[in-house]
Amino acid sequence: MRVQAFMFYGCAIFFLVTDVVYWLWSKDWTGTTALALSVGLAGLIGFYIHFTVRRLEKANEGPLYEDDPQGEIVQAAGEVGFFSPHSWWPLFVAASAACITLGFIFGWWLVVFGVAATLMSCIGLVFEYYRGHFQH
């Protein structure tokens, strides 16, 4: 992960240099702002991965298996996280979000309906594993 962090830092530095040169040549606010935010785009991910890898190395008391040239695939075994085995809710969330978008074309009444449907389907998605048999 350390390598990935520095790859993103590299992109951020590239955008930073480009940004400065662009501003000096063009004095254009639009492109300069967009490039400055691109520094954030790469820098934010780089910073977060760097921050995470430092924390994990401390917890792991040594480099992570990804960064170890002698590392084995088997070291990466174990729980990755919680993944919903099957859920209908993303479909309902997408359908209700589509209602909002279609409402911009067909009429505001559909937007009102879509917002209400989105809220309800989001509640369904967020709380799916917080009720019933498989409650967390």
Binding site: M1, D28, W29, T30, G31, T33, A34, L37, S38, G40, L41, A42, L44, I45, Y48, I49, T52, V53, L56, A59, N60, L64, Y65, A76, G78, E79, V80, G81, F82, L119, C122, I123, V126, F127, Y130, R131, Q135, H136
Partner: protein
């Protein structure tokens, strides 16, 4: 009897492994980076239209309305402070302290819930303040989304940000709901509290940028 092969394979740990990044957190950060590009488009729109119409009079005036700087500055302060209260909630979430164990006014004994409710109220105040500002601009200055280029730019940039704040408020409600719905407080609930705080800090930082260009740049 031979040990059953599957028995040891499903030894699920209640906590995520310490040598692996949390997928939800990393995914949230990647998504927030792409959100940054969404706002980059809004900034690009702002500066493009500004550079085209600045210096003109009447319909194409820039800025097209007298903005209420004190109101907006106070609103901004509330939003920035809400990031602080949000972070206090995160510290409590990481410590596993969900609810308060003292009186309601005993801030030192507050848990995640109290800090997040306070953050929610401050965020709601921000949105309400922005609605009040819109109301004044529409009724007193006649600035609407379609009245002038400045109106379009102003309402699109601040409006999309306001929608993001509203989305964050709903997310706070979901996290608060989860604190009540979960049987016990685990890593997963803490993660959702933490990633909502990432989003909230992001929305806050974006607003500081928007506030700077919309309210301070053309003073």
């Amino acid at each position: 009897m031979l040990p059953v092969a599957t028995a040891s394979a499903i030894q699920a740990t209640p906590h995520a492994r310490t040598n692996r990044p949390n997928l939800v957190s990393v995914g949230t950060i990647v998504w927030l980076s792409s959100e940054l590009m969404f706002f980059a488009a809004l900034f690009a729109m702002f500066f493009t239209i500004r550079s085209v119409i600045i210096g003109q009079e009447g319909h194409h005036a820039w800025p097209g309305a007298e903005l209420d700087l004190p109101l907006s500055a106070f609103n901004t302060t509330i939003l920035v402070l809400s990031s602080v209260t949000c972070q206090m909630g995160v510290f409590k979430a990481e410590a596993g302290k969900v609810g308060r164990d003292g009186g309601l006014l005993n801030v030192k004994r507050w848990g995640l819930r109290e800090w997040y409710v306070l953050t929610f109220l401050m965020g709601a105040y921000f949105v309400a303040g922005q609605c009040f500002e819109y109301y004044n601009l529409v009724t007193k200055d006649g600035l609407t989304l379609s009245s002038s280029p400045y109106g379009s730019v102003f309402y699109l940039t601040t409006g999309f940000h306001g929608l993001h704040v509203t989305g964050g408020l709903i997310a706070f409600l979901f996290v608060l709901g989860r604190t009540y719905a979960a049987k016990r407080w685990t890593h997963e609930q803490a993660t959702s509290a933490i990633v909502v705080s990432y989003y909230w800090h992001f929305v806050d930082v974006v607003w500081i940028g928007l506030f700077g260009v919309i309210y301070l740049l053309d003073l």
